[in-house]
């Protein structure tokens, strides 16, 4: 049986050349994302701003949104939104936080329940009081910061500090772009979004770490190869894995997106953007080239001509395994230009 090769065996893409394009693009996109966050804002769900969310399903026929709007409007509960949610008889009602503390939220729900009566089935009712919502937001933020911190410390132990810093820059970039995406698409930003952001963080790092791992291995093995060549070789060597893995993750995410139901759709859409689109791009075009600027291997050029350490001792008969190493010299001149 002939097996599928998504990526040819010996790719020699010069990824490092793209850093002159990818860095400005990423910087620009990050600024756009930050501007979006401040001027367009996030569609904060009730988890973080308090209020009430009800998902109701009309029992007879499609929902009459206008009529429902009238019924709820008559209750004078301040700002509220009605939104079709999946099926035509499924309606999402969002009521902003009522003034007057926790008890007032409860009264509002009761009023809506009384007004809509038994014509609808209450599929979901969520009420978050003001004291909880502020806490949830701060917990969410603390969680993100803690996670980034903990991962950084781990990377710092396992690699050199430049790697930890590079990974952090790359991942903050991912998070910023994802938040920008959420602002642009107006996806609900709630507790599950924090979960999505953390998972994106985990995956994006996962990917970055796989490439860094290879870079570290190559750094030990080829003491004299210039950094850009070495980085290119590392990325090319892991390219097939990156793509295969992302395809499998995309396939499972796609299944969740299409069949996982409305309740987790915003979660999967965010993941799709963060993991599949941004995460892959970042580890190749940001996380790796940034190592050049952070000074990994800078001391190498000053080194006296040492002996090149060849293949590992376990397999003395094997030639150096990364294919691009033998082609390094011609590229060197190009990269130094």
């Amino acid at each position: 049986m002939r097996l599928l090769r998504i990526v040819p065996d010996d790719t020699r893409f010069d990824f490092m050349r793209f850093r002159r394009i990818s860095f400005p693009i990423s910087a620009m996109l990050s600024i756009v994302a930050i501007l979006l966050y401040f001027y367009h804002g996030l569609n904060f769900g009730i988890d973080f701003v308090g209020g009430t969310l009800m998902e109701v399903q009309t029992k007879a026929g499609p929902a009459d949104l206008a009529k429902m709007r009238g019924t709820i409007g008559a209750l004078h509960l301040g700002d509220f939104q009605l939104q079709q949610f999946g099926a035509p008889n499924d309606v999402l009602i969002r009521i902003s936080e009522q003034p007057g503390g926790d008890a007032a939220q409860q009264e509002a729900v009761q009023k809506v329940r009384n007004a809509l009566g038994s014509e609808v089935e209450y599929r979901r009712v969520e009420v978050v009081g003001p004291s909880v919502s502020t806490e949830l937001l701060s917990y969410g933020t603390i969680g993100l910061v803690l996670a980034i911190g903990a991962i950084l410390i781990y990377l710092w132990f396992r690699f050199e500090w430049q790697f930890a810093l590079g990974a952090m820059i790359a991942n903050v970039h991912d998070l910023v772009l994802t938040v920008g995406f959420m602002s642009l698409t107006h996806i609900d930003f709630d507790l599950t979004s924090i979960a999505a952001l953390l998972t994106i963080l985990g995956y994006s790092l996962n990917d970055t770490v796989v490439i860094y791992d290879r870079i570290r291995e190559m750094l030990r093995r080829y003491k004299r190869m210039p950094m850009p060549d070495l980085l290119n070789a590392s990325i090319n060597a892991t390219l097939s894995r990156s793509i295969v893995t992302h395809l499998t993750v995309s396939l499972s995410l796609l299944a969740l997106l299409l069949f996982g139901g409305q309740a987790i759709r915003s979660f999967t859409a965010t993941m799709m953007f963060g993991v599949v689109l941004v995460g892959t791009y970042t580890s190749v075009f940001i996380a790796s080239p940034i190592l050049i600027y952070l000074g990994v291997g800078r001391t190498r050029r000053g080194e006296p001509e040492g002996t090149e350490v060849e293949a590992p001792p376990t397999a003395p008969q094997a030639p150096p395994s990364p294919p691009s190493s033998s082609k390094a010299p011609p590229k060197r001149a190009k990269a130094r230009r």
Binding site: E126, D213, A255
Partner: protein
């Protein structure tokens, strides 16, 4: 890397088998499982978002606890000084403390010595903590007593504990099935009731303090007089039904704590709903004495500072039982008797978060989750087969075992499976194969580098290990943080993701390696079909 002793291989297979077997109870009906030994009965609990139900987060009113402690302290000061016959003026609650001014300077030392007896040493976890329950400050004739923070914290802790017991009783009285009630943080209580669709009644029942007192009506003035001039020091004006107001003595004749039973019923003459109650012996004695002394005068039944009714005592009530009537509906009489049986909360509770999912949405979510899981798994399995052939099959076996092991571990922990949790499992399927992909790509590389088949497989496994560990540990850190900060569904996601990472390390690395090693031994391949 490819050599396994017989014992090691058996150990690996046994581990996988045992963990998978723990998942079994989930596939049988509850009745069938009941006959199994108890350690094998543990199964996955469906979260409220999947089975439907109501989750309420309640907060104990800590300000009320503090206030009550101060009021109690003020009463203690009054009693102590009166017993010691020390003259004083200006006893008042001031900020966080109680102030009292001793009239004669010669009494101050005696007074402060007596008041110091009100302060007890607090016991910490390891014996005495050196702190006392009340800080006393003497400044000339002015003595200030402040309850210490530690004492207030302890009081709040007790209040939450008591509240949990009382909530349990109330929820059980309502006949709700399998409720879970647990403490959250320092002053919160999480109540989860599976299957409850409309928590309105539950919220109404939990929202009542249900502090019941029998007190005398103060007849020295009318309510209007008291409102116009000043309310007597030992009385207060309370609301009744329909806007009526009463002047009620603060002194409590008998409190709800002395009740032993309360039942809803109907009045024999008027046929309206009532609640009949019975006192314990000390309550009955106190009630008998009070009614004997006050025949012909009205007394008030006060619930949560609201007068339910104020009947006139026609004759002494000696039997220790009575009834409360107050224009109740049947439901109200029912609820009141539940509240009285369960006892009063030490402090008011507020509902600060509510999440209710109807059974329809729950079932839809289960279906959607299952559907997505099957489709996702099918896509990944197919993709792996097409890409890696026989080795793809090995990876698929590993992933299938992995999913079973996740269910097994979840069952062992009796963990809660939520919809985001299902998403976590589906994602784990996606990344569990990542470890396999890392290994296989490495093997391909080693083959290209000119190694022999067996040597390439061996090197592929050993070189991929560091990468697999590094990448999985970073994801695991994210999952751990999610678990730590998350609540409810988010925590469910973190649990399945975290467990999935651990089991996938075992299946993708160790189990796959065992399978490959066996294949190598049997087939002695010259080339790697990868």
């Amino acid at each position: 890397m490819l050599f396994f002793t017989r014992w090691k291989a058996a150990g690996i297979l046994l581990t996988a088998l045992v963990v998978c077997l723990f998942a079994l109870p989930n596939f049988f009906s509850e009745d069938a499982v009941r006959a199994w030994p108890s350690w094998a009965q543990r199964h996955i609990v469906l979260g409220l978002d999947l089975q439907g139900g109501s989750s309420l987060l309640l907060e104990v009113d800590t300000a009320a606890v503090r206030k009550e402690r101060l009021q109690g302290l003020a009463d203690d000061v009054l009693r102590t000084l009166r017993q010691a016959r020390i003259a004083f003026t200006g006893r008042s609650i001031h900020g966080n403390g109680v102030e009292v001014r001793i009239t004669r300077e010669s009494d101050v030392d005696n007074a402060s010595a007596k008041l110091r007896e009100l302060s007890q040493p607090l016991s910490g976890i390891l014996g005495s903590s050196g702190q006392r329950s009340v800080d006393i400050n003497v400044n000339g004739g002015l003595i200030t007593l402040t309850p210490s923070d530690a004492a207030i914290t302890e009081r709040i802790r007790q209040a939450v504990d008591q509240s949990i017991q009382i909530i349990e009783r109330r929820v059980n009285e309502l006949g709700l099935v399998e409720p879970t009630i647990q403490r959250e943080g320092s002053s919160r209580i999480l109540v989860q009731v599976p299957g409850l669709q409309d928590p309105s009644r539950l919220k109404a029942i939990l929202g009542k303090t249900a502090k019941l007192d029998f007190r005398m009506v103060d007849l020295s003035e009318t309510v209007q007089q008291a409102q116009a001039t000043h309310v007597p020091q030992d009385s207060e004006i309370l609301d009744g039904e329909g806007g009526q107001k009463y002047l009620i003595e603060k002194r409590v004749l008998v409190s709800g704590a002395d009740l032993v039973d309360a039942q809803p019923g109907f009045d024999q003459r008027s046929n309206e709903p009532i609640v009949s109650f019975r006192f314990n012996s000390s309550g009955a004695r106190k009630f008998a004495e009070a009614t004997q002394a006050n025949v012909g005068k009205p007394f008030a039944i006060v619930l949560d500072n609201k007068v339910i009714s104020a009947p006139v005592i026609r004759e002494p009530i000696l039997g220790g039982s009575g009834q409360i009537s107050g224009n109740f509906t049947v439901q109200q009489a029912n609820d009141l008797s539940i509240l009285l049986r369960a006892g009063a909360l030490p402090a008011p509770l507020a509902v600060i978060e509510e999440r209710t999912v109807g059974p329809g949405l729950g079932q839809d979510s289960i279906n959607a989750g299952e559907h997505a899981a099957y489709v996702g798994a099918a896509l990944v399995v197919f993709f792996m087969l097409v890409t890696y052939g026989l080795f793809g099959l090995f990876a698929n076996i590993a992933v299938a075992v992995n999913v079973m092991m996740i269910f097994g571990v979840l069952s062992m922990l009796s963990a809660t499976l939520t919809l985001p949790g299902i998403a976590g499992i589906v994602l784990t399927v996606g990344i569990a194969v990542d470890s396999n992909v890392l290994i296989y790509e490495r093997i391909r590389e080693e083959v290209r580098a000119g190694r022999s088949a067996i040597s390439a497989i061996d090197a592929g496994f050993s070189r991929a290990l560091a990468t697999i560990l590094d990448s999985n540990i970073t994801t695991f850190i994210a999952a751990a943080v999610l678990f730590y900060i998350g609540t409810g569904p988010v925590r469910g996601f973190a649990v399945t993701l975290g467990i999935g990472i651990l089991t996938s390390l075992f299946t993708a690395f160790t189990l796959t390696r065992l399978i490959v090693a066996y294949w190598v031994r049997v087939w002695r391949p010259r080339t790697v079909p990868i």
